[in-house]
Each structure stands twice: as structure tokens, then as C-alpha cells.
């Protein structure tokens, strides 16, 4: 039995290949940015002494101008609040492309979107000093959520804003809205509810409406119109935000070349006229688009048409800056909005902002005030550079130091500026500098590394293809011989050599990126080795394929797993994946049961169907599933209701009580942990509960579970079935603990489904005899059905593939782990068990598929048992690998898609997590089975 552990080593090898390739893909694909929790603070001018430093006890009195001059002479001083405050009305017309706002009377046959906003042209002609119109350049991804985030923070959007807590959708960084509320300003919101979800609780009055019905052009707009004019008359707000969605929705539904677009733009025109007439002359009016649209009306990518939005500014009392007509249509960046608006509202720029002040859209100010605003902007950027350098190594230190020095130089110059001409030059210099800073950051945040993405896809396909040949091609009777040979050790030695070579090359500075090189070389060498194996056994492969095609239900199952992966290229199927997976797994099971052909099997199948139907009540829904989401089913409930508690207690008690009788002495451990879990919920429930005792009980349960996992390795010579069953039960109890009382019954349903499927599978018989046959019990149909179920129960336990659906309560159910030295790993482990506990449990139970039942493999020789367990595990792992591969593929294809950050990337992340959990579970289960399968006698 030399080959015994070679099987496990091979599975680990496979898991390494898949996960390392996915890791490499992630490095190239996931743009990341470190989120800092800093907040810009400003000191009011009244608290600043005449020497330009913060006032101590001195009671000197001096003029404001002198004070500001002194302040400017101290480049190291704090940011000072500018006393001038204006009220701002920000009208966001979603997807207002720049050319919608242009007016050219010379066009004979205007397109449906041309010449529809004559009011802007009219104002520009009549009052050039009151009106400005710019091209408002957005950074990709040009989706509304990312744009709003970027507009209020003044930063560049990326997908992973790696912050300490990304549980809620709530914006964690300093932003314009927070700055205004901190300064005591009042805010009013009308329209798109994305704002109120990003920044809840900051609004004096909020009339937010659900924004995902992209085919409804009017509801939100009429609702905003009915409120906005009353709001404009009131003067209790400092910043009013009105977000109109009609133009965007008209684009999504009909595209810009459609009469509906004409209608929506005409409505916008009337609205703007009314705003301009009704607004008091001192209020600043900004009309901006957050992004443009393509000729088909979509957005999200980085084409010029999508990036070019419009910005229109108007103030009855006139604006500062240069009002020459040549400035109309100049390009300004969307990052500039946050510092500009904060300046208008008398606040410093938000901490993460990378924008510069847009003086032309601010009211005319005296030179010292202007200088004060500009230095505030510079100081904030300098601070951000320093802090970002401290927190992240994404940008090389030399580069950062260079930028910081440049800002310092500009700050030093500020005090020497007197005339308007000098000021204009200075402003241009500062703009150029900030532009430079922004470009440096954009380079690291916004570029995909397509080379490593493609390499990772190549490695994935290599691993999947050759392992598929090994499972489906190699004759079963040769498998033990191959693994008894030096195949696996050769592979490991080759990989070790690769790592050694890479490391020495890195040591001698021939290579820059060690990790990349190691992953690439080991992946390629493993591909070569498996390829050699397949070539050496090609006669066997061809013979097996010649001898017969597999059964219809088996081919159907393979097609089902491939189909379940391939549909992930479409966003609709990702959104509805829960239903799709249950549909497919039930179909595969139906064919298996039909093939067994007894009434009992069909009844088992029906029970399976009923159980899967019951899990629907736990499935919930995500934001894109409009009707269901607005009905309020999407929000996961925090505290379990009384009925849910009873269900949870009942399900755990029933499972534990039934299971205990069949698993011997190990049952007591399961019972004990189950009891602790029940007590944990019961004691912690409601207002009468005692949270501290409840946490203690949860810890007790975890202790029992961990002890039992250790005890699982005690051999008792009765085969592997019992320990594997107990292992599954322990994973079940662990799952119920992290899922909490509200979702615990769904774990019981998963366990029940698993049991039913095992029973159906054990009823399968060979065409010739009822004895165990490798080809039937280890067919890919069984592995595929199991993999589909494992993927389904991610949804079945109430999860969804969006970052907003990650529950963080599991991390704290047994006390706050942050007080411990090993806190972060514990938090990560608990949350990932909550998310991927089901693939883990199903993965660990894969060997049972071969061993379960009277005619299971447990009655045949250990060699056959091992080969059966191994081939099932590899097939199961392959199913998940295929799904991850297709997810990575679709992320590559769609990397400029509208929903890439909302749908495809989260799916890739969660699928990777599920794959990793399944692989870990699979290796664990296989190792447990190998440990318990008795060593062969010499005769066998």
C-alpha cells in the first residue's frame, strides 16, 4: 500500500494548481485601493492667532487678511476653514452626456438627442459671467454607484476598496456629505436611493426612491419634480441633491436615438428653466451628469462617449474666474467636484480627494481667500500622500517622496502671491501638480494586468484538461498502479526544483516577481508531467473510450455541470443562480433516480425536491431582483423570530438525536456540541437572554467540535464510513453555529438532502450484478450531482454572491475575537465557514458517495476503496475547477461590462471561495477515509 498517501498528495497538488492560478488571476484582475479612515479637519479662522498658528491664550486682535497672510506663510500649519459659505443645489441628471447639452442651430435634421437643451445655450449667450459649461470627465468604471462614490469622495473608484470593514454598503471614507454635516450644514436628498444607502442618516429630509427599475422612465422623475420646487423655496438647507434617472433609463431601454430620449431631454430643459427662474441669486446651481452613454445607451466602460459627461454651473450673482467663451466645453475631471463643492460650502476637501479646485464655478473671491482655498487643497493632498505611503506599498516610496516635495514647494510659494496675474499662474501650476498626482494613482488603481490574467487562464485550462483526461480516460484498474509508481513523488520533486530555481533567480535579482514566477513555473511543469502520464497511458485511454460510451444520464450530468458553469457568462443567470442550480441538480438527480427505476428511488427523489423547495424560503434575494427586493425579502433579519428559534432548536435536536444512534461512541460528541449550540441560542434569545452566557456556551460548542475533529483520527478498524458520517455531522453543527438561529434549519435541510442523495446513489446497481462496481458508483453523474448541490446550498443557506450579503454576525457570536492576539484569523475563519460551510461539508462527505450503503465500496478490498474514493474526489474537485475557470473567463470577457463590479466580479470571488472550501473539504475527507481504510493484507 505504498500508494495510500500518494492519492492525498495528488489531490493537494491539484488543489494547489487551481488555487494558485486563481490567485494569479486575482492579482491581475482585482484593482485595489487602500481605504483610509482619515477625516480632514479644519480650524475656524477665529481660533487662529495673528501669528498664523492655532491660538493659545493670546488675545491679540488683527484683521482677517493679515491673519490669512500669516497663515499662508506657515506651510506647516493646520487647514483653516474659510468663512465664506454659499448654498449649493446639485442636480444630477444620470447619464447626461456632453453632446446632449450642446446647441447648434445650424443642424438641419437634429438627432433625437441633439439641440434638446436650448436653455444652456441661451444662458451662456445672455449671461456669460453667470454661466459655465464644461466637459465633465469620468473615470471608469462608469457605473452610477461607483460614480457617486467617486463624486463625493473626490477619489478614483476601484472595485476592492480594501478597508477594515466592508460589510455594509455604507461609505467608510471621508466624503463631501460627511464634511458638510460635520460643519453643521443641512442636506436634502431627492431621487436615487443609492445616495441614502451609501450615506444613511446624514439627511435633513430625504425622498429616496428605488432605482433599479431601469425600464421605468418616469416614476422617479415625477416624484422628484413634485417635491423639488417646494424644497428650492425653503432656505433651511445648505446642499440640495436632486438625482434624476429618466435620461439614463431611456438610454438603457431605447438608446439615445429614440423619441423617448427627446421627451426626457425636453423635460430636463423645462426643469432647468424653472430652476434658474426660481432659485435665489446667491445659490450655486450645478447640473452634472455622472457619466455618458454609448450609442446603444449602455455605460460602465471607458470609451470616450461613456466618460464624457456634462457640467453646467449657474449663479444669479455671477461666478468668478475666466468667463471667455473659449472656455466653454473645456475638460475638467469629476474628481474636482468634491473639493470645489466643499470650498463653496466653506469646508476643507474630503481626505481621500485627488481633485483640484475649479475656481471658474465658484463665486468671485478675494485673493487671500482664493489662496486659502488652494493651500487647503494642497495640504489635504499632501496629507493623503503621506498617509497612503504609510498604509500601503502600492506606490514606490521614491515616487511618493517626489510628489510630497512638489506639493511642499507649491505651498511655500503661496505667501508671495499678490497680483491676479501671479495668482493665475499659481493656479495653473497647482492644477498641473494635482493632475500629476492623480495620474500616478490612476496608474496603480485602474489598470488591469492582462498578461497575468491570460497566463492564469492558461494554467487553469492546463490543469483542468489533463486532470479530466486522468479521471475520464485512464482505465480504473490502472489507477492503483500509477499511484504506486513514482509519479506523484516525481511531480513534487519537479515542483520543488522549480521553486528552488525561481527563488535563487530572485535572490540574484534576475526575477522581480517571485510569486508570479513560482506559480507560472510550477503550473507549467505540472501540466507537462500530467501530459506525459496521459501520453504514456494513451493505449489505455483509447481502449477505454473505444469500449463503450457512458450512459445517457452520465453524459447529461456532465452537460449539466458544464451548463451551470457556462451560463455564468450571462448576468441574468448569475442573479438567478440559486433557482438555476436547484433546477439542474434536481434534473440530474431525476435521471439518476429514473435509471434506478424503483418506486423507492423516485420517492427519495421527490423528497429531495420537497427539501430543496423548502430551502427556497431561506434563499432571499439580491438587489437586482427588483420585485422581490422591494418587497423587503432581501434584508437578512438580524434577530431570529420565536418561530425561527423553535425551528432551529427542533432541527438541531432532531438531527442530533437521530444521528446519535447510528454513529457509536462518537455520537456523544455530536450530541454534546448540538446541545451547546441549542443552549447558545436559547440563552441568547430575546431581551431576557444573557449575551455573555450565550457566548460562553457557543465557545463550549466549538471546543467540543474541535475535540471531536481530533478524535476522528482515532482508528477503530471499522472502516471509513462512520468517521466520515461523524465528520459531516460535525461540519453541520459548526454550520448551524455560524449561520445563527435564523438560518440554522437550512443547514439541516442540506444535511437531509445529502442523506437522500446518498441513499439514491447507493440504490444504483450495475447492469450485471448488484455488487459494487467502480464504474457505476464512481461515475461522474454522482460527482456532478454532488457538486451542483454543494454549490446550490451556498444560496440555500441564505447567501448571495454580492459583497453586501456577507454577514458579519458569525464573527461575533462567540464573543469579540478582536481582543485576542489571533483575532483576525478567527474572524476570517468564522465568516468563511458561514459563507462556504456547505461546499466544505459536501466536500468532506464526497468519499461517502462511494462507501455508503450495503453495496458500497466498504465491503471490497482496500485498494479498490481507495481508488474509488480518489476518483470521486478528483471528479468533484474538477466540477468546481470548471466553474471557477468559467467565472474567470467571463470576468475577462466582461471586464468592461456595465455590471462587472456589481455582478461578475463578486461571483468570481464567491465562486473562488466555494471552490477553495470544496477542495479543502475534499482533501480532508479523502485523508480521513485513507486513514481509516484498513491496510491491505499481503494476499490482496
Amino acid at each position: 500500500m505504498k500508494e495510500k498517501w500518494n492519492y492525498i498528495l495528488y489531490l493537494i497538488w491539484f488543489a494547489y494548481l487551481i488555487l494558485s492560478a486563481v490567485l494569479m488571476f486575482g492579482h491581475g484582475f482585482l484593482l485595489s485601493r487602500k481605504t483610509l479612515s482619515d477625516v480632514t479637519k479644519c480650524v475656524p479662522l477665529t481660533e487662529i492667532g495673528c501669528d498664523g498658528w492655532e491660538k493659545g491664550n493670546s488675545t491679540e486682535v488683527c484683521k482677517e487678511d493679515v491673519k490669512i497672510r500669516r497663515l499662508l506663510a506657515n506651510p506647516g500649519s493646520e487647514i483653516a476653514c474659510v468663512p465664506a459659505e454659499f448654498r449649493v443645489a446639485l442636480v444630477l441628471v444620470d447619464a447626461l452626456r456632453y453632446d446632449f447639452t450642446e446647441y447648434d442651430g445650424g443642424i438641419e435634421k437634429p438627432l433625437p438627442y441633439q439641440n434638446r437643451l436650448p436653455v444652456m445655450k441661451e444662458m451662456l449667450d445672455r449671461w456669460p459671467e453667470r454661466t459655465r459649461l464644461f466637459r465633465f470627465m469620468a473615470d471608469p468604471p462608469t457605473t452610477t454607484l461607483q460614480r457617486i462614490k467617486a463624486l463625493v469622495t473626490g477619489s478614483l473608484p476601484t472595485f476592492v476598496d480594501a478597508s477594515s470593514n466592508f460589510a455594509a454598503m455604507e461609505l467608510q471614507e471621508d466624503n463631501l456629505i460627511d464634511q458638510v454635516t460635520k460643519g453643521g450644514g443641512k442636506l436634502v436628498l431627492l431621487g436615487d436611493d443609492t445616495w441614502s444607502r451609501l450615506m444613511p442618516g446624514r439627511w435633513l429630509r430625504s425622498h429616496a426612491m428605488y432605482s433599479f427599475h431601469t425600464w421605468d422612465l418616469d416614476t422617479v422623475d415625477t416624484e422628484v419634480d413634485s417635491k423639488v420646487y417646494d424644497e428650492l423655496k425653503k432656505d433651511d438647507w445648505n446642499l440640495l441633491i436632486a438625482h434624476y434617472l429618466g435620461v439614463d433609463h431611456a438610454g438603457h431601454r431605447y438608446g439615445p436615438n429614440h423619441p423617448e430620449m427627446t421627451r426626457k431631454l425636453d423635460e430636463t430643459n423645462t426643469r432647468l428653466k424653472r430652476f434658474i427662474n426660481e432659485l435665489p441669486p446667491d445659490v450655486l446651481l450645478f447640473v452634472i451628469g455622472d457619466h455618458g452613454m454609448t450609442e446603444t445607451g449602455d455605460h460602465g466602460g471607458e470609451s470616450k462617449a461613456e466618460r464624457t459627461a456634462a457640467m453646467f454651473a449657474y449663479r444669479g450673482n455671477g461666478l468668478g474666474g475666466n468667463s471667455s467663451p473659449s472656455n466653454i466645453g473645456a475638460e475638467v475631471q469629476q474628481t474636482d467636484l468634491a473639493p470645489t463643492l466643499s470650498a463653496a460650502l466653506g469646508r476643507p476637501p474630503p481626505a481621500p480627494s485627488l481633485g483640484s479646485l475649479l475656481l471658474p464655478v465658484l463665486p468671485t473671491m478675494s485673493v487671500p481667500y482664493t489662496l486659502l482655498h488652494i493651500t487647503n487643497n494642497l495640504k489635504q493632498i499632501r496629507q493623503y500622500l503621506v498617509r497612503y505611503g504609510e498604509e500601503s506599498q502600492q506606490i514606490s516610496l521614491d515616487r511618493l517622496a517626489q510628489l510630497i516635495n512638489a506639493t511642499r514647494e507649491q505651498l511655500d510659494k503661496a505667501s508671495s502671491i499678490e497680483t491676479d496675474e501671479e495668482l493665475a499662474n499659481y493656479v495653473a501650476d497647482v492644477r498641473a501638480l494635482i493632475e500629476n498626482v492623480r495620474n500616478v494613482f490612476r496608474e496603480v488603481w485602474v489598470e488591469f494586468d492582462s498578461l497575468s490574467m491570460l497566463r492564469a487562464l492558461l494554467l487553469l485550462i492546463l490543469a483542468i484538461f489533463f486532470n479530466w483526461l486522468i479521471t475520464e480516460g485512464l482505465p480504473m484498474d490502472r489507477v492503483p498502479l500509477i499511484f504506486a509508481s513514482s509519479f506523484v513523488p516525481t511531480g513534487f520533486v519537479a515542483m520543488a526544483v522549480c521553486i528552488g530555481v525561481c527563488y535563487s533567480a530572485y535572490f540574484f535579482e534576475i526575477l522581480d516577481d517571485l510569486e508570479h514566477a513560482i506559480i507560472l513555473s510550477t503550473g507549467l511543469i505540472s501540466g507537462a508531467i500530467t501530459c506525459t502520464l496521459v501520453i504514456m497511458h494513451w493505449d489505455g485511454v483509447t481502449q477505454r473510450w473505444y469500449e463503450g460510451r457512458s450512459q445517457f444520464y452520465e453524459r447529461f450530468a456532465r452537460a449539466a455541470i458544464v451548463a451551470s458553469a457556462v451560463v455564468l457568462v450571462s448576468n441574468s443567470y448569475i442573479i438567478e443562480e440559486g433557482a438555476g442550480l436547484s433546477f439542474l441538480s434536481l434534473s440530474v438527480l431525476a435521471l439518476i433516480a429514473w435509471n434506478v427505476g424503483t418506486i423507492k428511488a423516485l420517492a427519495m427523489w421527490a423528497c429531495c425536491g420537497v427539501v430543496l423547495a423548502l430551502t427556497r424560503s431561506y434563499r432571499g434575494c439580491r438587489e437586482e431582483q427588483g420585485d422581490c427586493w422591494t418587497a423587503g425579502e432581501g434584508a437578512p433579519s438580524g434577530q431570529a423570530s420565536r418561530a425561527a428559534l423553535v425551528l432551529a432548536l427542533g432541527s438541531v435536536a432532531a438531527v442530533v438525536a437521530v444521528a446519535r444512534r447510528h454513529v457509536g461512541w462518537r455520537g456523544y460528541g455530536v450530541v454534546l456540541s448540538g446541545l451547546f449550540a441549542c443552549a447558545h441560542w436559547a440563552v441568547g434569545w430575546g431581551t431576557l437572554g444573557s449575551p455573555s452566557r450565550s457566548r460562553l456556551l457557543a465557545r463550549g460548542s466549538w471546543l467540543v467540535i474541535v475535540t471531536m475533529f481530533a478524535l476522528l483520527w482515532r482508528r477503530d478498524g471499522q472502516g471509513a464510513t462512520l468517521p466520515l458520517t461523524v465528520c459531516g455531522l460535525l461540519f453541520y453543527v459548526a454550520n448551524t453555529l455560524v449561520l445563527g438561529a435564523a438560518f440554522a434549519p437550512s443547514a439541516a435541510l442540506a444535511l437531509l438532502t445529502g442523506f437522500l442523495v446518498l441513499t439514491i446513489v447507493s440504490m444504483e446497481k450495475n447492469s450485471t450484478s448488484t455488487k459494487f462496481s467502480l464504474s457505476t458508483r464512481c461515475s461522474s453523474s454522482v460527482a456532478c450531482a454532488w457538486a451542483l448541490l454543494a454549490s446550490y446550498f451556498f444560496y440555500g443557506t441564505g447567501h448571495h454572491a454580492t459583497l453586501g450579503h456577507v454577514r458579519w454576525a458569525p464573527a461575533f457570536h462567540a464573543g469579540d475575537p478582536n481582543y485576542l492576539a489571533i483575532g483576525p484569523p478567527i474572524t476570517a475563519a468564522l465568516v468563511s465557514i458561514d459563507l462556504f460551510g456547505m461546499p466544505l461539508m459536501f466536500g468532506a462527505a464526497v468519499p461517502l458517495l462511494a462507501l455508503w450503503g450495503k453495496n458500497g465500496a466498504s465491503n471490497v478490498g482496500p485498494r479498490t476503496q481507495l481508488a474509488a474514493v480518489f476518483s470521486l474526489c478528483l471528479k468533484f474537485a474538477l466540477c468546481f475547477a470548471i466553474r471557477v475557470f468559467v467565472c474567470a473567463m467571463s470576468a475577462t470577457i466582461h471586464c468592461r461590462h456595465l455590471m462587472i463590479w456589481g455582478v461578475f466580479t463578486p461571483k468570481l470571488l464567491f465562486e473562488t471561495g466555494a471552490c477553495a472550501a470544496a477542495l479543502v473539504g475534499c482533501v480532508f475527507g479523502a485523508a480521513l477515509a485513507t486513514w481509516h481504510i484498513p491496510t491491505a493484507h499481503r494476499s490482496s
Binding site: 445517457f552 444520464y553 433557482a579 438555476g580 436547484s582 433546477f583 434536481l586 434534473s587 421527490a606 425536491g609
Partner: protein, 239 residues
């Protein structure tokens, strides 16, 4: 595969399939011209089911009108009423199991029962009803549960083929439901309903095609190759 031994049966199979190929598409065309295509899930479209029922019944009379008509009549007249009653109960049971099965596969659990019921009724009508009308309750029960094999009976073979393709069609119809195209025909149960009808028609078209090809191949042996290919396809489909 159909045998060429029994010319009479072959002719019956061909003609009944031809009738189906004509009447079902004409019903669908008719209701789509009347603008009623998207209301097939409502109870108000019950008349379609009645029409299909009548057509299938007439077809079964035609199929049953065999040469030994005398013998059958004697047997049948005795227990006519109880036979009809039995088949009615059996149809109800099948209807119910279709209903439950469709819900298990993912139809809405608590609402849209009317729509699901219409789909289940259509599938019962297209799959099990022709079998019952042709062979009687006992035999079709045995066929369903796989106790009896249908061997060389061409007509039963055709009927079973029809039912299999109908179920496949309804299964495939579900594929378009999750797509976000917001078209009116994505409403439950229209895709499955039309899929079932489509599968049934397709199966009949295939039957006609096969029989005509086989007869043609007798005259022109060159066509034998095509027949072989169709045979192998057929065998691949049938497990």
C-alpha cells in the same frame, strides 16, 4: 426504431403525426393572431386544452381503428364506463404529479397555481393521454413504470417518443425564464408551455420525416446512410 413490417401501422403513424403537425401549429398561429398567445397560462385559455383533447381523442380513435375491430369492441363494451372512470382517475393522478413536479423544479410555490395547473394539464394531455387512449389504463401504467417494454409496437413507440420530447421541450423552455429581457413571453408559464408544444410538434415532424425517408430509402438505397445516421441519433437519445 420503426419496423417496416407493418405497413398499416406505419401509415397510421404517419397520418396521425401529419395531422398533429397541422393542427397544433394552426391553433398556436390562430391564438397568436388573436393576440392571445401570452394568455395561455390563464384559466380563460382552457378552450385550447379542450381543442387539443378533442384532437387527440379523434387521433386515438383513428389509431385504434384496427383490423380486429370486432374483437376489441366486444371486450370494450363490457367495461366501458369503468374504463373511462379509471382512466379519468389515472389522468388526475398524473396531472397532480406533474403539478407537484413542476413546482419542485422551481415554479412559484404559493402563487401562480392557475398557470402551473394549466401547464401540468397540457403536459398530461400531450404525454399520458394519447397513451391511455391507445392502450388503456393498465397497459399505460405498466409502460410508465417500466414493467412492460414496448418492443416492436410502432404506434406505442411513436407515442413514447412524443411524450419524451414534450417533457424535454418543457424542460428546455425554462431556460429563457431568468433572462432579463423583460419580454412578455418570459412570464411563467409561457416558455414552458410553448416549449412543450414545440417538443411535441418536433417529435411528430421527426416521425413523418423518418417514415418518409425509410420508404424513400427502399426505392433509393443511397438514402440508407441518412437512415442509419437517424437511427444512431435515436439510439443515443434513448439512453
Amino acid at each position: 426504431m420503426f419496423s417496416l413490417n407493418n405497413q398499416l401501422e406505419l401509415r397510421k403513424v404517419t397520418i396521425s403525426s401529419l395531422i398533429t403537425c397541422i393542427y397544433l401549429p394552426s391553433i398556436i398561429t390562430f391564438i397568436s393572431y388573436r393576440g392571445l398567445l401570452y394568455s395561455v397560462g390563464n384559466g380563460s385559455s382552457f378552450y385550447i386544452l379542450v381543442l387539443i383533447f378533442l384532437a387527440e381523442l379523434l387521433k386515438s380513435f383513428y389509431l385504434n381503428a384496427s383490423s380486429d375491430i370486432q374483437a376489441k369492441k366486444n371486450k370494450a363494451s363490457k367495461s366501458r364506463v369503468s374504463d373511462i372512470l379509471k382512466s379519468f382517475v389515472f389522468l388526475l393522478v398524473v396531472l397532480f404529479s406533474y403539478f407537484v413536479g413542476i413546482i419542485l423544479f422551481g415554479a412559484p410555490l404559493l402563487e401562480c397555481h392557475e398557470e402551473t395547473l394549466m401547464l401540468a394539464a397540457l403536459m398530461t394531455l400531450l404525454t399520458v393521454f394519447p397513451l391511455i387512449a391507445h392502450t388503456g389504463v393498465e397497459a399505460s401504467m405498466q409502460l410508465v413504470f417500466g414493467i412492460k417494454t414496448y418492443g416492436k409496437d410502432t404506434i406505442i413507440q411513436m407515442l413514447i417518443n412524443n411524450s419524451l420530447l414534450t417533457v424535454c421541450g418543457a424542460w428546455l423552455g425554462a431556460v429563457v425564464i431568468p433572462l432579463d429581457w423583460n419580454t412578455p413571453w418570459q412570464q411563467w408559464p409561457i416558455p414552458c408551455y410553448l416549449g412543450a408544444v414545440g417538443g411535441y410538434v418536433l417529435s411528430n415532424v421527426l416521425t413523418v420525416l423518418k417514415v418518409s425517408l425509410m420508404t424513400a430509402a427502399q426505392k433509393y438505397p443511397a438514402l440508407n446512410f441518412v437512415v442509419k445516421v437517424m437511427n444512431s441519433l435515436h439510439n443515443a437519445k434513448k439512453i
